[in-house]
């Protein structure tokens, strides 16, 4: 199982039935593949659909129905089309139960940076700032390090996405919950020790007793 699949499988366990879920482009979108069959959720794409479905069969694409990455999708029975004001109204208004986003950095305050590297990459924040500010549960899914360098830091040095403590960090090495007094190590990845996690992490980690391994 590669790092991304570990992450996607573990995040999938956090998704509650009958909720509204937004999955970011890339790694987060893989989460949908690992939901148990009996867990029914509605996926929201911020470009305007609640009830995003799978990719359509070839030749049956609708150019007016895509996900937020511009890929062709379908709509499940009970889907709703909404405009951007409603889409972000749902996000900012606390109606979105879970958002799963990628991350560039995250720090001991639980603050996320994921939208720009000054002087290098300026894609824009798109919907990320609203998602982190507004969703009930914010899950950051990312590989633990970037080219061997820690991404979980004492304090982010990239521009922040929001001044809000995210709910959970899931990497291939660890599940970490930002809490009042820091980052609580909750689980380790397959074949990973607590010491492995500590040495791949710049931030201080709170460790309370035995740390279980992910059950995937």
């Amino acid at each position: 199982m590669d790092a991304k699949e570990i992450i996607a499988r573990r995040v999938a366990q956090e998704i509650q039935p009958e909720t509204l879920v937004n999955l970011g482009i890339g790694l987060p979108s893989m989460v949908a593949n690992f939901l148990p069959k009996d867990v029914h959720v509605f996926f929201q794409a911020e470009n305007g659909v609640i009830g995003l479905g799978a990719r359509p069969p070839e030749g049956m694409e609708d150019p007016d129905l895509t996900d937020a990455g511009g890929g062709f999708v379908t709509a499940v029975p009970g889907a709703a089309s909404i405009d951007s004001a409603m889409s972000f109204g749902l996000i900012r208004g606390g109606h979105l139960d879970t958002t799963v986003l990628g991350g560039l950095q995250i720090d001991e305050r639980g603050y996320l940076a994921n939208w720009m590297i000054p002087g290098k990459m300026v894609p824009g924040m798109g919907g990320a700032m609203d998602l982190v500010a507004g969703a009930k549960q914010v899950i950051v899914s990312m590989v633990h390090t970037a080219k061997g360098k820690p991404k979980i830091l004492h304090e982010c040095n990239l521009p922040l996405t929001a001044q809000r403590r995210v709910s959970l960090i899931v990497t291939e090495m660890a599940v970490i919950e930002p809490v009042e007094d820091g980052l609580l190590l909750k689980e380790t990845g397959p074949g990973v020790t607590v010491d492995d996690v500590i040495s791949a992490t710049e931030a201080n980690l709170i460790i309370r007793g035995e740390v279980p391994s992910m059950q995937l």
Binding site: N47, D64, G70, V122, G127, M129, D130, A162
Partner: protein, 217 residues
């Protein structure tokens, strides 16, 4: 009732230097014929207010490639490397705005509000130069209205009053921008006789539309 006009006639209404609200999300739900007509007439110095600048060769990306644009106000330019290059070279000035804030600023202009308070952007670079206001113990940024000289709207179906229906994820910014352009031009796929669209299906009332493009085919 409105006479439907051709795309080139509509593009001729839009002077160089104008600010344009343009519907669409990564090219989906963008007014493609209007964009092509602006490229064809070599429009210059446009300000484009839109969610994104799509990709090179698609939708708003064509305006960027063709040198029509001097300023972009958008939430995302990540999938168009040309926009990023022209931003770095100084050819295009780019303002990045969180997507939810962008649509609410446009809505505020359209519905006559002087601004809205949003939690989005608090404690980030977006805060710079903005007033922060505390309501019920929570901090918000005051974000001000964003209007355009023109709004270029893509729709699924229109009638000759200008009433508009949209399709699936091609709604996006269109219904909101239709309220916020001084002049509003709608580009529908099809046009049906007045009375065919149920009042309950209308998402943009025709009284907001100034000009209607001919049907696509």
């Amino acid at each position: 009732m409105k006479q439907a006009i051709k795309a080139d006639a509509a593009a001729d209404l839009i002077p160089d230097g104008a600010s344009l609200l343009i519907g669409g999300f990564m090219g989906v739900g963008s007014p493609h014929r209007l964009i092509d007509a602006l490229v064809a007439r070599e429009a210059r110095d446009l300000t484009v207010i839109a969610n994104d600048t799509a990709m090179p060769g698609t939708g708003i990306g064509k305006l960027i490639t063709s040198g029509c644009v001097s300023k972009v106000i958008a939430s995302h330019i990540g999938l168009n490397p040309e926009t990023q290059q022209k931003m770095i070279s100084g050819e295009i000035d780019v303002d990045l705005v969180p997507q939810g804030t962008l649509v609410e600023r446009i809505r505020a202009a359209g519905v006559g509000l002087g601004g809205i308070l949003t939690p989005t952007g608090i404690g980030t670079l977006v805060e710079e130069g903005k007033q922060s206001i505390t309501v019920d113990g929570k901090d918000y940024l005051l974000e001000t209205p964003l209007a355009g000289d023109f709004a270029l709207i893509a729709a699924h179906q229109a009638d000759y009053v200008g009433n508009l229906e949209y399709s699936l994820t091609a709604h996006n910014f269109n219904p909101i921008m239709a309220m916020a352009g001084k002049t509003v031009i709608a580009e529908p796929h099809t046009i049906v006789p007045v009375g065919v669209i149920s009042p309950d299906s209308v998402k943009t009332p025709g009284i907001l539309i100034d000009h209607l493009l001919e049907r696509a085919h």
